[in-house]
């Protein structure tokens, strides 16, 4: 369904020193920096799969999603989605794809959601029956029936996200790109969006790529995760397996009179390190655990894979 091979993207940006003097300099002598947003990416995703794309800000998640959605042209490499090259923007492809960005509204700000939907119905040429069915299903599941006639700009952030989701899924896309769908939402709204996505995935089996900073999203939705660091993949595999990546390590939570802190140590050093900690600190409490998924992922994002 999605096949990516050797995908690269290099951005060139202009730099300007701060302040007025910098602005002047930039007038005559523009300096550029190139940045590798993606360094040769390979990826295969099958029908019905949902993968979680994780990484720090600037790791290249969004760039990858933008390329696959056809917004950005890659510098080199190949990618096919449903057999199409995304950046050729074939209408046939675009009719089966959607991109949802938590940071950016796509529905028309000044119109009620239903008006936007009607327009989208025409743009995507959705037939009447499917349209009615979908509106019914989506509004029901997302519980936004009563908000559809209100101007979008007057909705709360959570409601707006739900309306975004509706708008993006109206044409029942086979490929879904979700870029930070829960960003900025409160806990209950986050939960609602997650529940919805789960249900949707089970019901319609699209291919989904999800990026998120919230581990809850990933843990709930994605059996498979891809971790990115500085434009490369550092892990691509199952969520449960990731724990084994650092299986040789133990996590110590130590509480002293002054503070509480965590250290991760190799299993064979456990005794020695614990003794060392006891000798150096006035320890009130000590807890030895296997590292949690969050800890592992954080460690991989920071240090890469230590295999």
């Amino acid at each position: 369904m999605i096949a990516v091979k050797g995908l690269r993207k290099t951005f060139t940006t202009h730099v300007k020193e701060p302040g007025l003097a910098g602005s002047f300099k930039a007038l005559f002598n523009r300096q550029t920096v190139t940045k590798d947003a993606l360094k040769s990416i390979d990826l295969e995703i099958q029908q019905g799969e949902i993968i979680g794309l994780i990484g720090a800000n600037g790791a290249g998640k969004t760039t990858l999603v933008k390329i696959l959605a056809g917004i950005v042209h890659p510098t080199a490499g190949e990618a096919t989605v449903l057999g199409f090259r995304p950046w050729e923007r074939n209408n046939e492809y675009r009719r089966q794809m959607c991109l949802i960005m938590g940071q950016k509204a796509q529905v028309w700000w000044d119109l009620p959601a239903l008006d936007s939907f009607l327009l989208l119905k025409e743009i995507y040429q959705i037939d009447d029956r499917l349209y009615r069915e979908n509106i019914e299903f989506l509004a029901e599941t997302l519980m936004v029936k009563d908000q559809l006639k209100t101007q979008v700009r007057k909705l709360s952030l959570g409601e707006r996200m739900k309306v975004e989701l509706m708008a993006a899924l109206l044409h029942r896309p086979r490929v879904i790109f979700l870029d930070e769908p829960t960003i900025g939402l409160d806990l209950s709204a986050q939960k609602a969006v997650r529940e919805f996505l789960k249900k949707y995935q089970q019901e319609f089996r699209p291919v989904t790529i999800l990026t998120s900073h919230y581990m809850e999203d990933i843990k709930e939705l994605c059996p498979r995760i891809v971790i990115m660091k500085e434009g490369s993949f550092v892990y691509d595999g199952s969520l449960t397996q990731v724990q084994r990546m650092l299986g040789d390590e133990k996590c110590l939570s130590i509480t002293t009179r002054e503070s509480t802190f965590k250290v991760t140590v190799p299993r064979q050093d456990l005794g020695a390190r614990t003794a060392e900690i006891f000798s150096q600190n006035d320890v009130l409490d000590l807890n030895i655990q296997d590292p949690s998924i969050e800890d592992v992922i954080e460690s991989i994002m920071k240090n890469g894979v230590s295999v």
């Binding site: 007025l20 602005s23 002047f24 930039a26 007038l27």
Partner: protein, 231 residues
């Protein structure tokens, strides 16, 4: 590139002077002093205020003013002067060049004191321009979108590019008192070309002060409305 803008402004009057000796009581040569004056005011505004003024309605509209209200500095001051359009600075030099050239070739009688008066009054003109601009932006606090007012402002701006003597009757009242575009460059140019007159000076001071007070008052009202509307 902005040279086109200056060229068009000068060409406009040159074309008209092909068919007439005087416009608004001024000869072609006198008109150029006036053109130089308003171009200078415009260039200063472009460099200092324009970027900030462009974004201000968006800030207010999207509720992003909060950030500026929390700072220990006058939000009006900060928002008005936040960004400096360095690329307009070249225009400022060009406008200054046109202004100086117009005065250098001016063959009529003039005094140095009048030139100083002109320059000071042009600074006042910049402030008037800024005030009127703010008056057009402030309604965003209530109307959600001020695009209409802002567009109207740019259109009204044409009024400052014409000699004030062409305005008669209530149009004159409008452009010299209510929306005093004529005081930005035309009145100052008259000081230089025709010497000081107490009426003109008095008119300038009174209207400028009044405008400033009204603008500040409305800004405060707007802020109060903003504070009570955003949650």
């Amino acid at each position: 590139m902005d040279l086109i803008y200056y060229a068009v402004n000068i060409a406009f009057f040159k074309v008209l002077f092909l068919h007439t000796e005087l416009i608004g009581g001024w000869s072609s040569e006198q008109m150029m002093v006036f053109v130089g004056s308003y171009l200078l005011v415009d260039a200063v505004n472009m460099t200092v205020f324009s970027t900030n003024m462009w974004w201000l309605p968006f800030y207010i509209n999207r509720g992003e003013l909060d950030y500026y209200l929390t700072r220990p500095i006058s939000p009006l001051f900060f928002l008005s002067l936040r960004e400096f359009a360095a690329n307009s600075f070249v225009n400022l030099l060009v406008a200054l060049g046109i202004f100086i050239h117009a005065i250098a070739v001016y063959s009529g009688p003039w005094e140095f004191g009048h030139l100083v008066g002109l320059v000071l009054l042009l600074v006042n003109g910049v402030l008037i321009f800024y005030c009127i601009q703010m008056l057009m932006i402030i309604p965003v606090f209530w109307t959600q979108s001020a695009r209409g007012f802002v567009d109207l402002f740019y259109t009204l701006g044409i009024a400052m590019e014409r000699p004030d003597r062409i305005y008669r009757g209530w149009l004159r009242v409008f452009f010299t008192v209510i929306m005093p575009f004529a005081l930005i460059a035309s009145y100052p140019a008259r000081i230089f070309l025709e010497g000081f007159t107490p009426e003109v000076l008095f008119h300038l001071t009174a209207v400028s002060a009044g405008l400033w007070i009204i603008m500040l008052g409305l800004w405060r009202l707007g802020l109060r409305n903003y504070a009570s509307a955003s949650s």
